[in-house]
Amino acid sequence: MRSRVDGARRLAELVLRATALAALAALLWRAMRPPSAAGADVARGDLGTALARWTAAPPTEMRAVFDATPDPLTRDWLRALAAAGSPVRWSASRPLGAAAVIAEPSAEPYGATRVRLAAGRGEPVTIGDGAGVIDTLPNGGGMELELAAVSGGVRAAGATFAATTIARDSALLRPVLVIGAAGWEAKFTIAALEERGWRVAARLRVAPGVEVTQGPLGAIDTARYSAVVALDSTAAPLAGAIARFVRDGGGAVLAGSAARLGAVAPIAPGGVGRRVPGVAGAVASATPRAGLPAFVITPLASDAVALESREGAAVVAARRVAAGRALQSGYDDTWRWRMAGGDGAVVAHREWWSQLVAGVAYAPLLARSSTAHAVVDEAPRAALVAALGPPSAFDARLAPRRDAARTTRILFTLVVASLLLEWSSRRFRGAR
């Protein structure tokens, strides 16, 4: 007669046998079933294992479900797989934030690094460099920063994205050509630009056919100059060359009545209107340019942007012209600001002139080193869409929670363990 313990042991052996059979059946079913979601292999989160698997044995279709915008390596790997012939679709387990960040040197000598960020609204964005956090936007949006120095790369990160860039060292700046009559405006404009670090070439007319010159003079083209400053009508003989220079990508600052010159007028942001007198005493005030006389810019070209106004009319305006830019300043006596302004007038006058020129200067950015491209991901979501197309509306719930290979290993281990235990149990009780 069998004891109760022996009965329980036999029952356990039966359960183990049933378990092994069930696991074997599951393995068989997995081997014979069609791929999940009509042939697609779905992976989510970290795709490291899935990418290796897909590369070794490409499925009919690869589906990636992202929790955050993927890094450039993952994105490029997926794009390579897609290019090799296997369709790749993607979706996100939650809305992915979109952001773009760039860091470029401003087109000024000794200029700062200008960091511009644009991010979708609603998600906090932290921007920083190698030295730490620079600023945080609690609700996203856009921002522009001028940083004296940037340590390493610049990174703008939210919960679902991380945009990274590396600032270029510098832009290629060539000399500025100043053209005008010898006089205080020319003298102090040149002084302001030189003091700010610009290399200045000048052609200053003293008498008919007589010019005082300085710096490298030659044909006005982008190989020689970054910008031309025309201060008055003495630039007339060069007006055609200035217009061509701007259309070819150069920059021009047309001050005072220089925008009236025949060949320059078509590129000017507007016409030259009446001359508005300055407010007496204002040159030494907090708004020094209000104390300067200025030509109003009227009519303003439809594609021009007014940068400074007086009495409802623009006095400084700019526009793009073909590949270049033209800026028109109605001021023709800014030297009075420098000479008679308040304590910071010299610096303010210098910076104002430098910024006018920097705003239009032709300053091609120096190329990054080839190694820098590996860590530059300035607009990750846009790059994702460019690489893999827009997100797909597939049902991500069909995706297996665990990796298929792992499940197979578990089932196989279960079969072996169950059979081994069942066999051991039988042998220990003396059965075959």
Binding site: G180, A181, A182, G183, W184, E185, A186, K187, F188, A191, A202, L204, R205, V206, A207, P208, V210, V212, L231, D232, G256, S257, R275, D332, D333, W335, R336, R338, M339, A340, A345, V346
Partner: protein
């Protein structure tokens, strides 16, 4: 529209600032005669201690007597130089060690900085007319007419590579102190260097 050049003469409290009243009209005449620059037909007199000083980036200062700037004058001259103005100082005595020279040099050193010898190859000698030998001599200096005390160089206080104060003890105040109509009696116009000084001030 280019601001016209106004020839300004400095008025200071010590000494005799108005010792060369004909120089402004003579140089204005020369600038108008030789250049196309818009120039005001009459000069201006500006007190060194006044804020009006900053309306005139080029100022001529002369005299025979000792010069002692007041605190306000000294501060204004320093600020004037810092902002890019150019002060042209001429010793009306044509001395080596006269009262004007000693005191003016001291005051300039206090207000702007020490005077250094200006090389005769400086652009001021070639910016419009060419003076390959440096500053032209005056009739007071030349042997036979003058005392043969020739000052071979001008002095300058610099701001960077720009002349902030140009100092002469060649007595151009006497040399140029005549009515402009009398230029017709000269075989060579002796005010041409004055034009160079003004053109330099307007362009550098």
């Amino acid at each position: 529209m280019v601001s016209e050049f106004v020839f300004a003469t400095a008025q200071y409290e010590s000494g005799d600032w108005d010792s060369a009243p004909l120089v402004p009209a003579n140089l204005i005449d020369s600038v108008a005669r030789y250049t196309g620059l818009p120039v005001a037909p009459a000069g201006a007199i500006v007190a060194l201690s006044s804020d009006d000083l900053f309306r005139f980036p080029f100022v001529f200062l002369t005299g025979h007597l000792p010069v002692r700037f007041t605190e306000a004058e000294r501060a204004n001259v320093r600020r004037f130089a810092d902002r890019g103005g150019m002060l042209f100082v001429d010793d009306h005595n044509h001395d080596i060690d006269g009262a004007f020279h000693k005191t003016a040099v001291e005051e300039i050193a206090r207000a702007v900085g020490p005077l250094v010898q200006l090389p005769n190859t400086h652009p001021i000698y070639s910016t419009f007319f060419r003076f390959p030998d440096g500053p032209p001599n005056t009739s007071h200096e030349l042997n036979g007419w003058g005392d043969n005390l020739v000052h071979s160089h001008l002095l300058a206080a610099m701001r960077g590579d720009r002349i902030a104060v140009l100092y002469s003890n060649k007595d151009y105040s006497s040399e140029w102190g005549y009515h402009p109509d009398n230029k017709r009696f000269l075989s060579i116009d002796n005010t041409k260097f004055g034009v160079n000084v003004i053109v330099y001030a307007l362009t550098r």
